[in-house]
């Protein structure tokens, strides 16, 4: 079974530029998460999707960050314009929502992340 795919792996941009990250979750996983992990800290949830709907985006800085999952499969996270403090690893994760295995919804599978450096 293929894991969560993310691209690009690395991105270097200058402040005020725009950047987009892409995530393809595990096939069949209804729930998709985007996390921001600043160096030396634990991941912080930015947004959670259930299929193509937003479940939680309370910690997403909506003035500059946006995310979509139009067809309920892959997702993109965009930052426009980027700030220096956006330098971090952006992690995508997915989980199953199968009614046959309710506990599976709490098992998140993470991609390798995109490391963003804003200069």
């Amino acid at each position: 079974e293929a894991g969560v795919a993310q691209s690009p792996r690395y991105k270097i941009i200058e402040k005020r530029q725009s950047v987009a990250f892409w995530c393809n979750p595990i096939s069949g996983h209804a729930t998709l998460y985007w996390y921001q992990q600043i160096l030396g800290q634990g991941p912080k949830l930015l947004i959670q999707f259930q299929n193509n709907g937003v479940v939680d985006d309370s910690q997403l800085p909506k003035d500059r960050f946006s995310a979509e999952r139009l067809k309920g499969v892959d997702s993109t996270l965009k930052i426009q314009p980027a700030k220096l403090e956006d330098s971090a690893v952006y992690l995508c994760a997915s989980s199953s929502n199968s009614i046959r295995t309710p506990a599976a919804k709490n098992i998140q599978y993470f991609g390798a992340g995109t490391r963003l450096s804003v200069l």
Partner: protein, 108 residues
Amino acid sequence: TQLLEQSPQFLSIQEGENLTVYCNSSSVFSSLQWYRQEPGEGPVLLVTVVTGGEVKKLKRLTFQFGDARKDSSLHITAAQPGDTGLYLCAAKRNQFYFGTGTSLTVIP
């Protein structure tokens, strides 16, 4: 303020030594998870503890959930270089929250 505080933040030990990592909160959780994250990779789930006082073992790793379900510990026996990584606890409220992390380095 962090919902989940981990200690220590950094730990560097010799191969063969034992260690314990702590995850503390003032909140009660229905379950708590432990993840390990290696450099350049995403976190990987190690275990989920559900019942207060529960102890789970995964080879040389022992996980315990506090009786009051507010805290947890991870004990590693005879640490090996392959145990090196960032250890994260996580819990779910209305969303998933991760702890501050413990960076472990095991020196051969």
